[in-house]
Symmetry: C2
């Protein structure tokens, strides 16, 4: 909860805990981020030279360099060497992969309870298929059809099935046309890759489970193709809940 409390409560609470002293480079990172949030720095803009930044912010050039490296590692900044027009450090459009990677790490380490991850997927994918059913994009539907057919190949390797399943859910999210939602969905599915794969490999009921998963996919795609958003939403929810029941809660 973020209900503000009085200043004295807050002070008493903070009183004798260890002081977190931010390092110089962290302060530089904060300043650069502030400029981005404020819209002053935007994609493609060049950062001032290292020397100038250091003197403006009153920190060492090493601190500036470390801040730039940390932000570059996250895809926020891009550096090019040389002295030409393209040299220097610019603000980058963070690629979807950066978000996927970060969210995947976060889900892996923050140790969210499995039912929370399932509910999050349900919320997002219900919304995506509703959008997809409104769009009924022919190319997206063809792509989903290709994946369905491949997943129905008899004797398909479990790891390949799992990867195609992941592709299917990403394609479904993309068929909704909302890139932010598709990025988050992709990240959550990717973070679950390993536990899902391990369960696929461990289960003794693989044939029944995979058949039922494929049937679930067909029901979703049929509903999307005929523009029935409510049916598609219900179908994707029961499909996701079934998959986790069958694969992850039983271990």
């Amino acid at each position: 909860m973020t209900v503000p409390t009085t200043d004295s409560t807050r002070l008493a609470y903070r009183a004798w805990r260890p002081v977190a002293q931010p390092r110089a480079y962290e302060l530089v990172v904060d300043r650069i981020e502030e400029q981005i949030y404020a819209g002053v720095l935007t994609v493609g803009d060049r950062l001032p030279a290292e020397r100038d930044l250091a003197s403006m912010l009153g920190v060492s050039r090493a601190a500036v360099r470390e801040a730039i490296r940390a932000l570059a590692a996250q895809g926020v900044l891009a550096s090019a060497v040389g002295a030409g027009r393209d040299a220097g450090t610019t603000v980058a459009a963070m690629p979807s992969e950066a978000l996927t990677r970060f969210l995947r790490l976060h889900v892996a380490l923050a140790n969210f309870p499995m039912p929370d991850v399932v509910d999050a997927r349900v919320m997002l994918e219900r919304g995506s298929v509703r959008l997809a059913a409104r769009q009924r994009d022919a190319e997206a539907l063809r792509g989903l059809e290709v994946l369905l057919t491949r997943m129905e190949t008899p004797g398909l390797d479990r790891e390949e099935f799992n990867d195609l399943d992941s592709d299917f859910h990403i394609a479904l999210a993309e068929a909704g046309g909302n890139r932010l939602v598709a990025d988050i969905t992709t990240a959550i599915r990717a973070s679950m890759r390993l536990p899902i794969l391990q369960s696929c490999q461990a289960t003794g009921a693989w044939r029944q489970i995979s058949t039922r998963l494929c049937r679930g996919h067909r029901t979703i795609v049929d509903a999307v193709a005929s523009g029935e958003g409510d049916t598609a939403a219900a179908a994707v929810e029961s499909h996701i809940r079934y998959a986790y029941e069958a694969l992850l809660y039983t271990r």
Copy 2:
């Protein structure tokens, strides 16, 4: 779309683009992340010493140091100096703030279309209020009530109103009890802070708009308190859509 293509198409596509040569530290980052995804490294685990990692991976100690710094900047690793039991680099539980910060940067830079951001919020918050209506947690409801009352204070500063509004939506997401969803909702709301604030400050119809926003909040909280999930979901959707209509699409 992630429909796999044939190898020759893929090769032709990649043929004459610049070669992206990963730097040594990036390869070290990849290796550490693989261990995390595989569940070999988990929260609290200690990384091998810098010297050992460098020799095992066949890279310089500088590359290992840079990788550790980049991951520490993202909250994945924590380093402690000294020689005691707690010294060394350990895997950290990434805090919610790290995700919020990253997603906020991503939304700011990836430049998602506004309707996509709105739809994402609608999906997540519809889901959250449904969960909240099922829980009807007394403490969460009291917290929401406190925020509502503060927002209804006549003559409240627009910036303060905006911050309380943000707190309200975060508290609503937390009342659903799903931390992953709450984290994502918080991040998306935070990424919109500036444009929403600017619109609040620019509009000539502030009194009507803020009154209607407060009424929307009341309707949501009432529905949650009486356990009516469907009503709460409909109310939060129309509230969010109204806010963006009134504040952001009209500029």
